[in-house]
């Protein structure tokens, strides 16, 4: 239960506004800025309204942060970066081996997904992995690329990572 600070109405967990008096419940500050932003220019709006920019500049690098791992992984942009885990038995090798991050236990496939570069943006594509690739909570259909944005959450099986552009 979340008790409304204004009128003490009990709201269910996860509610963002009080059912009774309409006051914002989570973080007063966040809503104030949200209304303010409506006055700003439409161009400004775009970047903030979505999870982040999709534009990936010419000399940008990809930073991959794995949850519960303090050190970020820097990736040199290439036309295709295959994410997966190395395995003695298989001949295909991924470009980024996630074995050190518990990839096997977390259900990462040997050839799991790929980050592809096209013009000035990046796409994520699932390569038919067993446990699926999720982009911001949505499961990707294998072989169908999806646009990546700065700050996106990418989940390979149960391994949670975040992608940033620098």
């Amino acid at each position: 239960m979340i008790l409304c600070a204004q009128c003490s109405h009990p709201n269910r967990e996860g509610s963002l506004f009080c059912e009774s008096c309409g006051s914002p419940l989570s973080d007063q500050q966040a809503v104030v800025t949200a209304t303010k932003r409506l006055d700003s220019t439409p161009g400004d709006m775009v970047a903030k309204a979505t999870w982040g920019t999709a534009r990936f500049g010419e000399d940008a690098t990809i930073i991959l942060r794995i949850r519960d791992v303090s050190e970020p992984i820097m990736l040199e942009p290439a036309n295709q970066i295959i994410l997966g885990r190395k395995d003695m038995t298989s001949t295909n090798e991924p470009d980024l081996d996630l074995t050190p991050y518990d990839a096997l236990d977390k259900g990462v496939s040997r050839i799991h997904a790929a980050i592809r570069r096209s013009e000035d943006n990046l796409t994520l594509v699932d390569l038919g992995s067993a446990n699926g690739t999720h982009l911001n909570g949505q499961r990707l259909v294998p072989d169908q690329p999806r646009l990546l944005r700065d700050g996106d959450e990418v989940r390979l099986g149960r391994l949670v990572t975040h992608i940033y552009f620098r």
Binding site: G14, G22, A34, L38, T50, V141
Partner: protein
């Protein structure tokens, strides 16, 4: 709408080179969530039919091969065809495990093909438009004159690729212009000018004749749409109208309803529009008629895809509580049918809807799916019009989830939707006879409106609060203003895709 054009691979979420075992496993996984024995939601029933059909195709090597060949043949023909995509954003990606149920919001956005925006000289969709115009006695004078001006301008706007029919109705319906290509504009306008106001208002008569005219040219390549404009209440034929709207929706005709003045039944017109994916609007005075009608028709001819329908199948233990269309025109949605019509998708705007769902208490730690959303629609410029896309939404249940800010887009939409819900609750309280509660809710609404910088609307809410406190009733215009203006706040700025 027929649902035969499915892509079995994307429906089961398997790749085109997956083995039969993988197909079967994917089917079993999906069936555990969607089978009618475990999931009673109407959306799940529909989607279960789809996964079953997909499984039947892919698990039978002969059928699968013939499907693959068919796709290859069609691919060649469909090279470079348009698509639309679906993006679903949950209000949270991690939730705490709790002993009590909790709420999560899903923002579903249908995005048009970015190429459609770029295509050179502005393309216009062909419309099959029917105007159903009230010419009862109360329309006499300025109202009917303005409607005629609006109809004339619409005729000017349409071209000979478009189909137009016009019905006038009072106690009975009269076909003023039978469905025809818009060629001899002067003759069509002359017919409109002959309309005179008399008699009462019986909406069903007019609507039935209108849908009948529209059906004559009904085609998947067209935007098939009926606009109903009335200024009065209809008596006793509401139910017949609702049934008519359901059957119109099934064949792909959208109905938009416009109420002029104060005396019409807003709940009824809202329902008619929601059933078919159309919109309902409140036209306060006759002087606004021309603008409303023109804008509406212009939006129709901007359509990139038509008959967009979304279905949401929550997992068996997840409850879908409400759905609301945010853009382009805010509209409450009904969730009791399997599919929810969302109207048309324009080339330069997104169609978005907000879903409120409830998660059960005591969920298991780990990742879990919430719901499967699927969107179908007809892309007007494609050789094969019907297109579909789907999305499985999941989140992680943890003991101590990290603190995350809800996405601004959800926060912003929900903040405004809350205002709409507040006026709804004030009305509900008053209908239940609780004057005190209704007054309190209106005062709260005024406070929130003021906090959001909507001072004019806040004043309206405050004066209605006073009126309710003294007379135990809303004023007709105040009630409609609060309802349609708070709804209109949701339209807000357009969120363009970056």
């Amino acid at each position: 709408m027929s649902r035969v054009e499915i892509d079995p691979y994307s429906i089961l979420g398997v790749s085109t080179h997956s083995s039969i075992e993988e197909v079967k496993a994917a089917y079993r996984r999906a069936a555990r969530r969607l089978h009618p024995d475990v999931n009673s939601s109407p959306g799940a029933k529909l989607q279960f039919q789809d996964i079953t059909a997909a499984h039947e195709i892919l698990s039978d090597p002969t059928r699968r091969q013939s499907y693959d060949e068919q796709v290859v043949r069609r691919k060649a023909k469909q090279e470079g065809e348009y698509y639309f995509s679906l993006r679903v954003t949950p209000s949270k990606r991690t939730v705490a495990r709790l002993q009590e149920p909790q709420v999560v919001y899903l923002l579903a956005e249908v995005l048009p093909d970015p190429r459609a925006r770029k295509t050179g000289p502005k393309r216009e969709a062909r419309v099959n438009l029917t105007l159903v115009l009230d010419h009862s006695n109360s329309m006499n004078g300025t109202r009917l004159e303005k409607v005629k001006v609006a109809a004339h301008q619409i005729i000017d706007h349409l071209s000979d690729h478009d189909i137009l029919s016009v019905i006038g109705f009072n106690d009975r319906a009269e076909v003023i212009i039978p469905a025809t290509a818009v060629k001899d504009k002067a003759a069509l306008k002359a017919k409109i000018s002959m309309m005179v106001a008399s008699g009462g208002t019986e909406i069903f008569q007019g609507l039935e004749a209108g849908v009948g005219q529209n059906r004559r040219f009904l085609a998947p390549k067209l935007v098939n749409h009926v606009i109903l404009l009335t200024d009065g209440n209809t008596y006793g034929d509401d139910q017949a109208c609702v049934e008519l709207a359901h059957s119109a929706s099934k064949v792909g005709i959208g109905i938009s309803a416009m109420g002029l003045g104060q005396e019409w039944n807003d709940e009824f017109l809202d329902e008619l529009a929601s059933i078919t994916g159309g919109t309902s609007s409140y036209i306060k005075s006759a002087s606004e008629v021309v603008k409303f009608l023109n804008d509406h028709v212009r939006n129709l001819s901007d359509a990139f895809a038509e008959r967009i329908q979304i279905s949401i199948a929550p997992d068996p233990d997840v409850l879908l509580e409400s759905a609301f269309k945010l853009m382009p025109q805010p509209q409450p949605l009904q969730t009791d049918q399997g599919t929810i019509p969302l109207g048309s998708l324009q080339a330069n705007r997104t169609v978005s809807a907000l879903f409120q769902i409830q998660l059960p208490a005591d969920m298991q730690i780990g990742f879990r799916s919430l719901a499967r959303l699927m969107v179908v629609g007809d892309i007007l410029d494609n050789t094969v019009q019907q297109y579909q896309t789907l999305s499985d939404v999941s989140l992680e249940v943890m003991d101590n989830p990290p603190i995350e800010d809800p996405p601004i887009s959800i926060l912003d939409a929900l903040g405004k939707l809350t205002l709409y819900r507040m006026q709804e609750r004030a009305q509900a309280a008053l209908s239940a006879g609780d004057v005190e509660e209704a007054t309190r809710r209106l005062e709260n609404l005024a406070t929130r409106l003021l906090a959001m910088g909507e001072s004019e609307l806040a004043t309206e809410a405050m004066s209605e609060a006073k009126r309710v406190a003294h007379t135990s009733a809303f004023s007709d215009s105040g009630r409609k203003t609060l309802k349609y203006q708070t709804r209109h706040l949701l339209a807000g700025p357009t969120f363009e895709d970056a």
